[in-house]
């Protein structure tokens, strides 16, 4: 019996350390006062409301949403064929291609942002938004390839071979046989890519210009100027959004299989 209670205590303490801080920011954001304190000075939802009225938060949220959605779609457009080639063909230089595509995971984001700023944005006059879009696409690509590859590897390849033998074109076989079978893997890759891109900070540190800021960067700079509870409220909202996405994905896709 004692060992059961020790075990509960250890798990309880670890989870408190890992998850407790989120409850604290949820409550800190509910403060009725003007400064961050915990416990809050009285309860109100005014800071949660204020978040939606701050112009820069709205703009940066829109940019982050745009990058997360379209960066992930672009990564899937590049990544699904690549994953298909790696799992179904015996292509030359397969190892090199895999290493190149996986490289963005290894390079720290701050370096990527600086390199793109220095060699693409400044000399070739790429817009900051375009550079951000490319960086986010490259960052999500490794996850897209990995998740889609693993669902392709779980799908027997003789079905599409049969479809081709029966007269279906190769593209037709992919569209009608392969894609319907891997769609939950592709959706899982989209969700993982979306969350990764949306939470991404270091890439955008250098890649932000006047009026072009991702949400996390905007929060960092807001934090430096003011010490009101609105950042806590916004953090709490973002955390709840992530939890909701992951919960739904787990419920409908068995998301944790893919991560």
């Amino acid at each position: 019996m004692t060992s059961k209670w020790t075990s509960r205590l250890i798990i309880g303490l670890t989870l408190t350390f890992l998850i407790g801080p989120f409850f604290i920011i949820i409550f800190a954001g509910m403060s009725a006062g003007d400064f961050m304190t915990f416990p809050p000075d009285g309860l109100s939802l005014k800071w949660y409301m204020k978040v939606f009225t701050v112009e820069s938060f709205r703009e940066s949220f829109a940019l982050s949403l745009f990058l997360a959605i379209f960066g992930t779609i672009a990564a899937l457009i590049l990544g699904v064929p690549a994953a298909y080639a790696i799992s179904r063909y015996n292509i030359p230089y397969a190892e090199t291609i895999k290493t190149v595509v996986a490289a963005p995971i290894i390079v720290p984001g701050i370096i990527v942002g600086l390199a793109l700023l220095r060699y693409l944005v400044v000399p070739l006059s790429f817009t900051v938004t375009l550079a951000l879009f490319m960086a986010h696409t490259a960052l999500v690509l490794p996850y897209a390839v990995r998740v889609v590859s693993s669902s392709l590897n779980n799908l027997r390849s003789d079905m599409e071979e049969a479809a081709v033998l029966l007269g279906c074109s190769r593209i037709g076989a992919f569209m009608r046989v392969v894609l319907p079978n891997i769609q939950s893997g592709v959706l899982a890759a989209f969700i993982l890519g979306f969350v990764t891109s949306f939470n991404q900070v270091p890439v955008s540190l250098f890649l932000s210009g006047p009026g072009v800021r991702t949400l996390p960067i905007d929060m960092l700079s807001y934090m430096e100027i003011t010490y009101d509870p609105s950042v806590a409220a916004l953090s709490a909202l973002l955390a709840l959004l992530s939890v909701a996405i992951v919960f739904l994905a787990e419920k409908f896709l068995g998301f944790s299989r893919y991560v």
Binding site: I11, L18, P21, Y89, I91, I110, L116, N199
Partner: protein, 273 residues
């Protein structure tokens, strides 16, 4: 398996070329800047960088914090993973889900919570004042302790995940067998659990260590300019001094370390399969 390899290459090349040209090439150019002083190829940049006391402090502090965070998460990770593995199926899934969940949440949100906890008017200082342990609030924010706690909270889940999967593969009866034969818990850990789960430990350790070395947000929010780490130093060098030589050197250090860690992980994964 299809035999038309040209077709396969045509499918894979867009992704590879995209990453190579728009991602790896600019990064490579940035790294090469550290070897160019006044248009000449030289190692002088590295010599100058290494001789500055601030750079040495930051480099050693980054390694030290990375090591401490990895060590602490290994200790907590073993205890916690051992308890998780011993839960029954349904509870195990739930607890595991709660451990993984923070990984999907914005690191800015995760780090911001520590300001509320550790700040001058935060929970810890309220408790210290209320208990009379000190008359004035203690500075915890902008110290190495704050950065350490932030990094530990950020990366502990990675260690627990690695250790849970290593412990799941441990044969069920080895521990009772060792106990019956008279081994103490310490002997069970050092002679049985540790050797049989060392791959998981190395995997988790590398993820936590490299994660801590390359973290930006945590040292930026919780350490500020008082507790610089390599990434925050890089940001400062570029923004304050336009110093691209130092930036290239720090970038090379960070990439070498995370590339080395990645090779190590690949080797472990290969040995396992």
């Amino acid at each position: 398996m299809f035999q038309n390899n040209r077709e396969g290459l045509a499918l894979a090349l867009p992704a590879a070329l995209f990453t190579a040209i728009l991602f790896l090439l600019p990064v490579g150019l940035l790294l090469s800047e550290a070897f160019k002083i006044g248009g000449q190829w030289s190692l002088q940049g590295y010599v100058d960088f290494a001789s500055k006391p601030l750079n040495q402090t930051v480099f050693l502090r980054t390694l030290k914090l990375g090591f401490l965070v990895a060590l602490t998460s290994a200790i907590i990770g073993y205890a916690c993973a051992f308890c998780i593995v011993n839960l029954d199926g349904k509870n195990r899934g739930r607890v595991f889900g709660l451990v993984v969940l923070p990984l999907m949440i914005s690191p800015v949100a995760r780090t911001y919570a520590w300001i509320v906890i550790l700040g001058r008017t935060g929970i810890v200082n309220d408790a210290i004042l209320a208990l009379g342990l000190s008359d004035t609030p203690i500075r915890i924010l902008f110290t190495e302790t704050a950065v350490f706690l932030g990094l530990l909270q950020l990366f502990l889940p990675l260690m627990i995940i690695s250790l849970v999967s290593a412990l799941e593969n441990l044969p069920k009866d080895v521990i009772p067998a060792a106990r019956v034969l008279g081994a103490s818990w310490i002997q069970v850990f050092t002679k049985i659990i540790l050797p049989l789960t060392k791959d998981g430990l190395v995997m988790g350790g590398t993820l936590v260590f490299t994660g801590s070395l390359t973290a930006y947000i945590t040292p930026a929010i919780l350490g500020g300019s008082k507790v610089l780490m390599l990434e925050t130093l890089l940001y400062q060098r570029v923004n304050v001094a336009n110093d691209f030589v130092s930036a290239g050197i720090i970038a090379t250090i960070l990439i070498t370390m995370s590339f080395g860690a990645n090779l190590l992980l690949k080797r472990i994964a290969k040995a396992r399969s």
